[in-house]
């Protein structure tokens, strides 16, 4: 479970997040919907402890991670996988090296076990035959699947997606969304995904929080979004466009 409690974050004088609170239960797909530049990626980084809030707390499984030092954050971050918006694959490494790198770095496993896990992730991502290619030679959807495979490498309970469908064609988008939904079913994996595409939310999210002008203006089951009276939500429901 991840909880943000009264979190405020500023960059310089600019308030990005203003006392927001948000809870993500295990084995739930929670969407965070908001226009571009509102602070969605910032929320994901706060959840991982990559940045610290100016005030408020972030809890992961009941532990307040805000006062923790970098070294103490490592074991906590391993409970969550992350898929960055641009995938953040290491472009000088092959696909299988990208998958195995963090295993080798963090766990003292015999080579056979590492190879076994990598083969498993490659098969899961449907990338057999691409093991020795560099990321640049893969399509957008394939890169995304490599990034998801890498995020699963420590068997996390929760996986964080930063705009998983941004920049993908509709077919690849659909596949990635189905993959997120199936991970919940087959692996009991919770997910947080931030997006500015409202159709993605209705496609797979159990719950949704809407972030607008530094505040959470809606937080609840996806189906209840239609009942919201907030003018911004009403406008996005009628236009389905979040570009402002």
């Amino acid at each position: 479970m991840i909880e943000l409690r009264n979190v405020t974050l500023r960059y310089g004088e600019k308030v990005i997040l203003d006392k927001i609170s948000l809870t993500v239960q295990d084995n739930t797909i929670k969407a965070i919907l908001g226009p571009s530049g509102v602070g969605k990626s910032t929320i994901i980084k706060l959840m991982l402890g990559l940045i610290k809030p100016n005030s408020g707390q972030v809890f992961v499984d009941g532990v307040d991670i805000t006062p923790l030092k970098e070294a103490d954050l490592y074991p906590i971050r391993r409970k969550m996988g992350i898929v960055f918006q641009g995938n953040a694959l290491f472009d000088s490494m092959t696909i299988s090296q990208n998958m195995s790198f963090f295993l080798r770095e963090n766990l003292r496993l015999p080579d056979e076990e590492i190879n076994r896990r990598v083969v498993e992730q490659i098969r899961f991502a449907g990338l057999e035959g691409y093991e020795d290619q560099l990321p640049e030679s893969l399509s957008g959807g394939m890169k995304k699947r490599v990034a998801i495979g890498r995020a699963l490498i420590f068997n996390p309970k929760m996986i964080l997606f930063d705009e998983p469908t941004a920049g993908l064609d509709p077919v690849s988008s659909r596949k990635i969304l189905n993959l997120i939904a199936s991970l919940k079913k087959s692996n009991d994996l919770g997910a947080v995904f931030v997006t500015h595409i409202i159709d993605d939310v209705f496609a797979i999210a159990d719950e949704v929080a809407v972030l607008y002008q530094s505040k959470i203006i809606f937080d609840g089951p996806t189906a209840q979004l239609h009942d919201s009276q907030h003018p911004f939500i009403k406008s996005i429901l009628s236009d389905k466009i979040l570009e402002l």
Partner: protein
Amino acid sequence: MAATLIGNYVESKMLRFKELVLTMQEFFYFALRSFATLPKAKRYWRDVLDQALICGVESIPIVLVSSISIGALMSMEVGNLLEEFGAKTMLGRSTSNAVLRELGPLLMGLMLSARYGSRNGAELGAMQISEQIDALRAFGTDPIAKLVMPRLLAALIMFVPLIALSDFAGLQTGALVAQFYHKLDPGIFWNSIYPRLLPKDFVVSFLKAPVFAIIITLVSSFNGFSARGGTAGVGRSTIKGIVASSGLVLVANFYVSKLVLDIMH
């Protein structure tokens, strides 16, 4: 009206100053952490080796170009000057000072700052904006140990032989110019150098290697890590890194010489 204008001006200057102090503080911590991760060199020895190839072997041509041009230039110009005083036999001695102690290391430092510094700045900046550095942290790897420490260690190791190469090539070129341009016997050229070479000449020369290595690597890496705002941001931060490290190389070049010569005169 005027008072508020001045007030605003002072306030904005203060803000800039505060920012500068904060950045310097950040840089100081960054440098400390880079040194603190040196013990992890064994774990990342492959990265150290890669970087040693990049900053050592691949820098040889540019170091040769700069040292040869300094050696040739000094020998030619100083030779002309000495000829007026009938002191051409002192050419070796006069050239060697500039080549070994001052201009040789300085030009090498500037060249490496442009070559190795820009490469680090651009590479790490691109990794920063594509969130690869965040990815390292998110999956439990210290990006300073993985990315900065190998660059620092490689430069610390490789700049020493590069200085030696630069010294040798610079003097050798000076001797050749003396021989073919000033018609000075190479024996006379070298003889005016050897007996007068003092330990301090080498201390000055070789002390500059680690000093430049630290300045160039840490400044360029720090600026790479600070890149923000897309590809244009990488450009901006890379330039900042090169300007800052070149400036610091100039300053350090002077102070290392002054310090050593003061102590060892």
